[in-house]
């Protein structure tokens, strides 16, 4: 299939939405657009698997390569490997769930749905790009709507948060820009084509200099310590769907970029800086988990826990073994689904009770059983219960991390593994107070459980979580070869016994 469809379809949806007159029409169009996106992605998955089954072993499938801006050798080069397909699927699921939970968005509803759709264009474009500049272009395309979504529809100190998020992400983009110009000018033949850059890596000295720019730049997107502070404020001020996007997709742009641009294109530097990445990731995992333990606002709890969980993505990347990198990709998908589900549940609570403070909530299981079950399952996924996706991802990261030789790496793995206890503490505290226990306020008793659109969104995300948790084989089979391909030049640092 043609990958252009992934860009054309959301853009068409956006254009048609411009013609819509009412919020009602807009949201129906958005929903139809999102459903078609999901179908499109299912077709993509199917045709990708069919190609692979037919024995096509090319690194990237459905490639297209056109010159875009010849003067700077910028090309419109697109193609997908297993990792991209997985991330595209994730995007489609989260977009659809996001549209569903925002169904009752009435304030500036047209603009809201418009921006949501626009975000998806950026994300799809990012995941199919094989040209560094195109990649960067789509990354930027995805940042701006977020700023607006938080600034306009947010809550709390929304201006501060929106500004903070935009500045930090723009800072990240600036670092990425330095990195990509560095690669451009130092390549054997100046160009942005990643397949070429990966085949002929720049010299080790250049890599050593520019690797931190690219890695840290993308790292900021995925909450690399100590640049994670946009995450809690950004999430907590964002409207529900924007939080879902931010944590479910945007943070994944970072992890994907770290792998695709930094690790793949600069294998020597990846080896060299591996210990730094592992160190920062371990700090993020533990520190994020301990900071979560002290939070009192549900959104802050999920935001800090995202810092901790995205630490697993970075840990897997930093370990540079095929298993660990596969685990990192699995964790991106799993965390994307899980955190979107969590934010959806928190959104349901907030819409009804108008508070997110753990201390003001209680006994919701009695009042809103469906919402409570969703909340508990998201929590259990977060603490790594077998049968849900979090377990598969975390265990793959641990196994892969433990394969890496060296005492320091083992200790990092141990420290990261210790976080599973802290995670249990903060999740069960939240569940114990919010879902179980006595009802906090009498007026909560009359609240309604989830509406049909919220139920559909939750079921969609739950289905993804359970599909990975029960039968992880298909996703591992999809992503593992691309992890191997990404590490081809790095050399799997695992020395077998």
């Amino acid at each position: 299939m043609s990958l252009n469809l992934l860009l054309v379809w959301p853009l068409l949806t956006v254009l048609v939405m411009l013609a819509a007159k009412t919020v009602r029409q807009t949201r129906v169009l958005a929903l139809m657009g999102a459903v078609c996106q999901l179908l499109l992605c299912a077709v993509l998955l199917y045709s990708y698997q069919a190609e692979r089954a037919a024995g096509n072993t090319a690194a990237f499938l459905f490639e297209e390569n056109h010159s875009w801006y010849a003067a700077l050798q910028i090309r419109y080069h697109i193609g997908v490997d297993g990792m991209s397909v997985a991330m595209i699927l994730l995007t489609a699921v989260v977009v659809l769930a996001g549209v569903l939970v925002s169904w009752r968005q009435t304030v500036l509803g047209r603009e809201f749905f418009f921006l949501l759709m626009f975000l998806s264009v950026g994300a799809y474009g990012f995941f199919i790009s094989l040209d560094l500049f195109t990649l960067f272009f789509f990354l930027e395309l995805a940042v701006i709507p977020k700023f607006l979504l938080i600034g306009i529809w947010g809550s709390g100190q929304k201006n501060y948060s929106a500004m903070k998020l935009a500045l930090l992400l723009m800072g990240g983009s600036a670092l990425i820009f330095v990195g990509l110009t560095g690669l451009y000018f130092n390549a054997a033949t100046p160009g942005f084509d990643m397949t070429v850059l990966a085949a002929h890596p720049v010299s080790a000295a250049t890599q050593r200099f520019f690797f931190p720019f690219l890695f840290a730049g993308f790292g900021i997107f995925t909450a690399l310590f100590p640049f994670h502070t946009w995450v809690p404020d950004g999430h907590s001020s964002a409207p529900t769907a924007a939080s879902m996007f931010l944590a479910g997709i945007s943070m994944k742009l970072g992890g994907y970029g770290c792998l695709r641009a930094a690790i793949w294109l600069m294998p020597a530097a990846a080896q060299e800086y591996s210990w730094v990445i592992v160190l920062l990731a371990t700090i993020a995992i533990l520190y994020g988990a301990f900071a979560t333990m002290m939070q009192t606002d549900l959104k802050y709890i999920n935001a800090y826990s995202s810092v901790s969980h995205c630490g697993f993505v970075l840990l897997g990347i930093g370990m540079l073994t095929k298993t660990a990198v596969t685990g990192a990709i699995l964790q991106m998908v799993s965390h994307g689904l899980m955190t979107a589900l969590f934010f959806a549940a928190i959104g349901m609570v907030y819409d009804r009770t108008h508070t997110r403070l753990v201390s003001r909530l209680g006994g919701l299981l009695r009042i809103m059983p469906f919402m409570s079950i969703v909340f508990v399952v998201a929590g259990l996924c977060s603490l790594g219960l077998p049968g849900l996706s979090g377990f598969v991802a975390e265990m793959t990261v641990f196994m892969g991390a433990w394969q890496r030789q060296g005492m320091g790496y083992h200790l990092a793995t141990l420290a990261a593994a210790a976080s599973i206890v802290v995670t249990a503490v903060y999740i069960l505290r939240a569940v114990g107070k919010v879902i179980m226990g006595p009802v906090a306020a009498g007026e909560h008793l009359s609240l309604k459980d989830a509406s049909w659109n919220e139920r559909l969104a939750a079921i969609l995300l739950l289905a993804g979580i359970i599909a990975i948790g029960f039968a992880p084989g298909w996703l591992v089979g999809l992503t593992e070869p691309s992890a191997g391909h990404l590490l081809q030049q790095t050399g799997d640092v695992l020395t077998p016994h």
Binding site: M293, T323, R366, G384, L385, P386, L414, A417, H497
Partner: protein, 639 residues
């Protein structure tokens, strides 16, 4: 019929029950969900019994040795070539034995709950959770892969969490559920790290291959795992000690036992199933499953032995002082599991301890679940857990009284009840292998008899029977399990267990040593006698005695202040010492730095705003200044 055809039904049917009762229970099935789930369990139990009969009597043996039969094995998730999670079902003496124990006790509990939980608001949810637990526990015992065991291990943990917190509006239940999950999670962390070490060193996660590779003392892998060390201790020792830590957490061994007494907040039948007969013995089962590895490591065996002995005596002392009947039973469970643990610890030389340990696991499951169900019937009657509110119930609840008495005699080790045989086996193994352990265990068996009969007399005697209550003891669904379990507690001891379960699969015939049995039985009778003297009639004796014991009694009644130590560690050290600083640093230092940069930038731009004067000549000046500076830099400095 081939095993592979029907065996998967044994764990999967309860999962079906979970899905049906959980998904349709509330709206459609309602009170039928209990009957449905009990029916499913009946089928599962029959299948398990059929499997046991076939395995032990017909096709399990080959050349006089019980074989490991892998009925099903599929790859579920592969990490790297050869290292992955396989899901499967293995049949060997211990897994088949556990299938029977789990399904029988689960069926009894399902049946008992039909009456006990009747009219409960979340009746179908309760049955759904029971189904989830039974599925997980059955999946655990038939595991072919160490990671498979870990997965089901976590699943039984979460079902236990859900069931302890079943009365979710009660803060104590919520706290207990949380505590149980977190303490066992902490232990599971050890288990997980142990798996990582074993898996990477052995390059496999399947039990068979793993054991084969790491017990071959000539192989390079064995050399690598025994010579590689961390902090002066070999990797194998670390791995096994960590796996044992996981087992100790689930099995409530000292000092990870603190969750078990609190777990009694759950409905009583749940305590009978999870916290007496099945989940809490998972630790013992895990050690038994990996026994060939443990047998080669004297250090870890020593650790297991002493943790087991300590838990046995420690819990027995506490049990003598508790007044909540479920807590007495909880400490008693901990004490009995201590027996099973140390029996495994001393089993390396001749394997007698191994057989005795699993035999005790087997008999204990029946009489302890009977005790809990009996306690449930009593609690159902008096609406209280406290001994103070009980007394003189023997006439009012004759059936419960007889069953409870049988269970008490069984646990006290009085012949011919089941506990006698298994406990004798353990004591005998201790006598042959470690005398210190033997004497402590002997003393503990006296204590056991004392605290069990303290319980018995306090519930059924002490006060004169008052005829106020007229309602019946309970429905037949509640009585039937009591009778069946009482029968098992009486007869299970006569099974020639050593014939079936030994470390090497070769059956043995064990003889009773009547002379050897004199001391323990006499001691048990002493314990019963003292209990009768103190508690059969209401008197001031117990209080006086408690006062005479002074500090020791108070310490035991306060559970030796272990909970307080944990409180201190979690509240003061983890929350105040780590959590709060982490949150503070994040808000004030890391984020403060970001805000600082932002305001510094804003401040700087406010200062240099004047540069944008709008006068062309100023710009020209900057422009040429810039060019000159660049030229100097490029020409002289850079080069």
């Amino acid at each position: 019929m081939n095993y592979a055809v029907y065996i998967p039904l044994i764990p999967l049917l309860p999962l079906v029950g979970f899905i049906l009762a959980g998904g349709l229970g509330k709206k459609y099935l309602r009170s039928f969900s209990g009957t449905l789930c009990t029916g499913i369990m009946l089928v599962v139990t029959l299948l398990s019994l059929y499997t046991a009969w076939r395995y032990f009597m017909a096709d399990g043996q080959w050349n006089g040795v019980y074989q490991k039969i892998t009925a099903v094995q599929v790859s579920w998730l592969e990490f790297s070539p050869g290292v992955g999670i396989d899901m499967g079902i293995v049949l060997d003496p211990i897994s088949v034995m556990m299938l029977v124990v789990v399904s029988v006790v689960s069926l009894m509990v399902h049946c008992f709950s039909l009456g006990y939980m009747k009219g409960e608001d979340r009746y179908s949810t309760y049955y759904a959770f029971l189904g989830l637990f039974t599925f997980s526990m059955l999946g655990l015992v038939v595991a072919v892969n160490i990671f498979q065991i870990y997965m089901f291990w976590e699943l039984v943990g979460v079902s236990s969490y859900l069931l302890i917190g079943f009365y979710y509006q009660k803060p104590a239940a919520v706290a207990a559920a949380k505590k149980a999950f977190i303490v066992t999670r902490f232990a599971d962390l050890g288990f997980l790290v142990g798996i990582l070490i074993l898996g990477i060193q052995g390059q496999t996660l399947n039990f068979d291959t793993l054991i084969q590779r790491l017990t071959d003392t000539q192989s390079a892998r064995f050399m690598a795992i025994t010579t590689g060390s961390f902090l002066g201790v070999s990797l194998l020792t670390w791995a096994l000690a960590l796996v044992f830590a996981g087992g100790a957490g689930k099995s409530a061994m000292f000092p990870l036992h603190i969750w078990l007494p609190d777990a009694m907040e759950g409905p009583t039948p749940v305590s009978a199933l999870i916290h007496a007969a099945t989940m809490v013995v998972a630790g013992v089962y895990l050690i038994a499953r990996l026994f060939p590895l443990f047998a080669l490591n004297a250090v870890v065996l020593e650790l297991i032995t002493w943790i087991g002995v300590l838990s046995a005596v420690f819990a027995a002392v506490i049990a003598c002082t508790q007044t909540d009947i479920k807590r007495v039973l909880a400490y008693s469970t901990m004490s009995q599991i201590g027996y099973m643990m140390f029996a495994l610890g001393i089993a390396a030389a001749d394997g007698h301890g191994y057989t005795a340990s699993l035999f005790h696991l087997f008999t204990h499951a029946f009489f302890k679940s009977l005790l809990f169900l009996g306690a449930g019937a009593v609690i159902h009657w008096v609406h209280s857990n406290d001994m103070k509110d009980m007394g003189g119930l023997r006439k009012l609840m004759p059936l419960t009284h007889i069953c409870f008495l049988i269970a008490c005699l069984a646990i006290a080790g009085i012949p011919p009840f089941a506990g006698f045989f298994s406990k004798e086996g353990i004591l005998l193994a201790a006598w042959e292998n470690n005398r210190v352990v033997y004497y402590i265990a002997l003393l503990t068996s006296g204590l056991t008899a004392f605290y069990m009969f303290r319980l018995y007399f306090s519930i059924f005697w002490r006060k004169p029977a008052d005829g106020g209550h007229t309602h019946s003891e309970g429905t037949w669904t509640m009585k039937l399990p009591l009778v069946l379990l009482a029968a098992l507690s009486t007869g299970a001891g006569f099974i020639p267990f050593a014939h079936y379960v030994t470390p090497d699969g070769r059956g043995r015939t064990e003889h009773l040593h009547l002379l050897f049995s004199i001391a323990p039985v006499l001691l048990a009778l002493c314990g019963i006698g003292i209990a009768a003297w103190l508690f059969k009639k209401a008197s001031a004796q117990p209080v006086k005695l408690a006062q005479q014991l002074g500090g020791l009694y108070r310490a035991a009644a306060q559970r030796f202040y272990i909970d307080e130590v944990y409180m201190f560690i979690t509240k003061k050290i983890i929350f105040k010492g780590i959590g709060r600083p982490a949150a503070w640093i994040d808000k004030h230092i890391v984020d403060g730095l970001m805000n600082g940069i932002a305001s510094a930038t804003a401040g700087l731009s406010a200062r240099i705003r004047g540069l944008q004067s709008g006068r062309v000549q100023d710009y020209a000046l900057y422009f040429f200044g810039g060019i000159i500076t660049l030229a100097i830099v490029l020409l002289y400095v850079w080069r």
